[in-house]
């Protein structure tokens, strides 16, 4: 949540150890790295979100985190629109399929 002053620290969540659990392919340079835990990321967007969620961000990091959240919200709206359409289509298709099979459609 952007309004909070303290990030929801992962006190109970299982922990990821960047040195063991991440690997960057030899021919790639990570687009961004977390300044707190050295975790490599494929995009600055993911790094900014990670810093805000998992660490105690500095004011500039918090700004970037909130900007990243904003982008995330816009993309999520589009995604949810697609998901709702997919759900509706699946539902309708299933109903029609059952009607066809059970012989009450034609």
């Amino acid at each position: 949540m952007p309004g909070e002053t303290t990030p929801p620290h992962a006190d109970r969540a299982p922990a990821l150890r960047p040195s063991r659990d991440t690997a960057v392919p030899a021919d790639e340079v990570p687009a961004a790295t977390c300044p707190h835990c050295e975790c490599p990321f494929r995009s600055e967007h993911a790094r900014d979100l990670h810093v805000g969620e998992r660490h105690d961000p500095t004011p500039s990091e918090r700004e970037r985190y909130e900007a990243a959240l904003e982008t995330e919200r816009d993309d999520l709206w589009l995604f949810h629109a697609k998901a709702v359409v997919a759900l509706g289509v699946t539902y309708a298709a299933t109903v029609i399929l059952y009607m066809v099979v059970l012989g009450s459609f034609f």
């Binding site: 949540m1 929801p8 992962a10 109970r12 969540a13 299982p14 990821l16 063991r20 659990d21 991440t22 690997a23 960057v24 990570p30 975790c39 490599p40 990321f41 494929r42 995009s43 967007h45 993911a46 790094r47 979100l49 990670h50 969620e53 998992r54 990243a68 995330e72 993309d75 999520l76 995604f79 949810h80 998901a83 709702v84 997919a86 759900l87 699946t90 539902y91 299933t94 109903v95 399929l97 059952y98 009607m99 099979v101 059970l102 012989g103 009450s104």
Partner: protein, 481 residues
């Protein structure tokens, strides 16, 4: 009823296809359009392929629903909710000692009645207790209530007794490894011995009449007792954690249960399945393989009792291949296939979530989400079997050596089949929730977490459809064994 052979549990499920179809229809909200559709009419009109497809649609649809839930803090509120259950140490120790003494007594009774009791399955205490009371009923409590096996396990008694005799510090928690000799399990083996043990036990259950012959069952229990006691004395606590497949199965199922022991030994009550989002699998080789094996053996158990299997295996056996080898080869090949598909899905997650997290870490991270599926199938397979034969078990238990001539069996109503299908689907839906929660913990933001689910949802949809296909097949006894 009069059914005493555990693997016939597949048949009742097959018989309930009709009701199962009705359940599937309901879950897709088509009931309004086919309001008069009773459980008895459906099987003639809804073909198997549609039942199977509906299962896939329900799982895919519940994934789409889950993507609408994106408030990470609210998810954590649900997943981390817990209620402490006070358990004074003295009470705990007393109960554990009492319960273990009882379970050792029951084990001796099983051996005695297995060797000298009546030969008919429904009248033999050993057979009823092991398959109905223990493998069907007790196992269900490990994921519905909590894993009580470490306290109940009668085969722990010798190890506990030796430790106690050695004096202070001999607490039943871990500590000293070996009691006799200086044997220790190489750490690099991880839980692979338990994986091999699980596959071996299931193979034995399928190819031998251990489910209907009390003498053979008693022999197997005796052999298991000797191996387990010797092994636990040789390598200590590690035996039950890494070698004994029975303890490993209960520990895995116990991860789904609402009652969990926290790291400090205190007991807490949680929402079912939410502990899976918090406790990662131990970092040992074979942990992921064990979870996948647990899932595969459920499918295998049903698969070998289908007519399709009988048709496929017939020509091979007639060509001179030993049936035992065919059964073992398919068991191992299927396991390798399941592990392979899971690994492949984990590798694909790296791309869909656009992350540098290794495939190995992803495998380990998401494996707990498979456990509710295994538990759901276990409940669907065994609850009817347990309820049907529980009266017989109760009747026989009152006089194990001279049981009544024909113990009662409960006949379950037809709608019970729909309830079974709901258990299967419930397991899958819970798995989707667990995977969704785990993804939010692993990947930053919302969209990467959702996208990380694509490969596993595809795999899960196909797995549901495969399992539903197996369940809807008519029962055919596994041939040539």
């Amino acid at each position: 009823m009069g059914e005493n052979r555990p693997r016939r549990r597949v048949r009742p499920l097959g018989q309930f296809v009709a009701a199962a179809v009705a359940g599937a229809v309901l879950s897709e909200r088509v009931a309004a359009h086919s309001g008069s559709l009773g459980g008895s009419v459906a099987s003639a009109t809804v073909p198997t392929w549609l039942t199977v497809l509906t299962g896939g649609i329900v799982v895919g649809g519940s994934f789409l629903f889950t993507t609408l839930l994106t408030d990470h803090d609210a998810m954590r509120g649900v997943n981390w909710w817990r209620l402490a259950v006070p358990t004074p140490t003295r009470l705990r120790r007393g109960v554990v000692s009492l319960v273990r003494a009882c379970s050792v007594g029951v084990l001796l009774a099983v051996l005695a009645t297995g060797f000298v009791g009546p030969r008919e399955g429904v009248r033999n205490f050993a057979l009823l207790l092991v398959w109905v009371g223990w493998w069907a009923g007790y196992t269900a409590t490990t994921y519905l209530v909590g894993d009580t096996w470490p306290a109940l396990n009668p085969w722990r008694a010798p190890l506990a007794a030796v430790r106690w005799a050695r004096g202070p510090g001999g607490d039943d928690d871990r500590g000293i490894d070996s009691v006799v000799g200086e044997v220790s399990l190489p750490a690099s083996w991880g839980v692979w011995p338990a994986v091999a043990g699980l596959l071996a036990l299931v193979w034995l259950e399928v190819v031998s009449p251990v489910g209907e012959n009390p003498r053979l069952l008693a022999g197997v229990v005796l052999a298991y007792t000797l191996v387990t006691v010797a092994g636990s004395l040789a390598v200590g606590e590690a035996w039950f954690e890494r070698v004994d497949p029975v303890s490993a199965v209960f520990a895995a199922y116990g991860r789904v249960a609402p009652l969990r022991r926290d790291a400090d030994g205190s007991l807490s009550l949680r929402l079912p399945g939410t502990a899976l989002t918090e406790d990662p699998l131990p970092e040992r080789p074979g942990e992921v393989a064990f979870v996948v094996a647990l899932l595969w053996v459920t499918t295998y158990d049903g698969l070998v009792a289908t007519p399709t299997w009988a048709r496929a295996v017939g020509p091979l056996v007639e060509a001179g291949v030993s049936a035992l080898v065919v059964y073992a080869a398919v068991l191992i090949a299927g396991f390798v296939l399941f592990v392979g598909v899971y690994r492949l899905a984990a590798r694909r997650v790296r791309e869909t979530a656009d992350t540098y997290v290794t495939a190995r870490a992803i495998e380990r991270w998401f494996a707990p989400a498979l456990l509710p599926i295994a538990a759901g199938y276990h409940l669907a397979h065994f609850l009817g079997y347990f309820l049907g034969l529980a009266p017989a078990l109760a009747a026989v238990a009152t006089s194990p050596l001279a049981p009544t001539a024909s113990p009662l069996a409960l006949v379950l109503p037809g709608w019970f089949g729909s309830v079974k299908l709901l258990f299967v689907l419930g397991g899958h839906v819970l798995a989707i929730w667990v995977a969704h929660s785990l993804a939010f913990e692993l990947f930053p933001g919302v969209l990467a977490a959702i996208r990380s689910q694509y490969p596993s949802v595809v795999v899960m949809v196909f797995y549901t459809m495969t399992s539903l296909w197996v369940i809807t097949q008519p029962y055919a006894p596994p041939p040539y064994v």
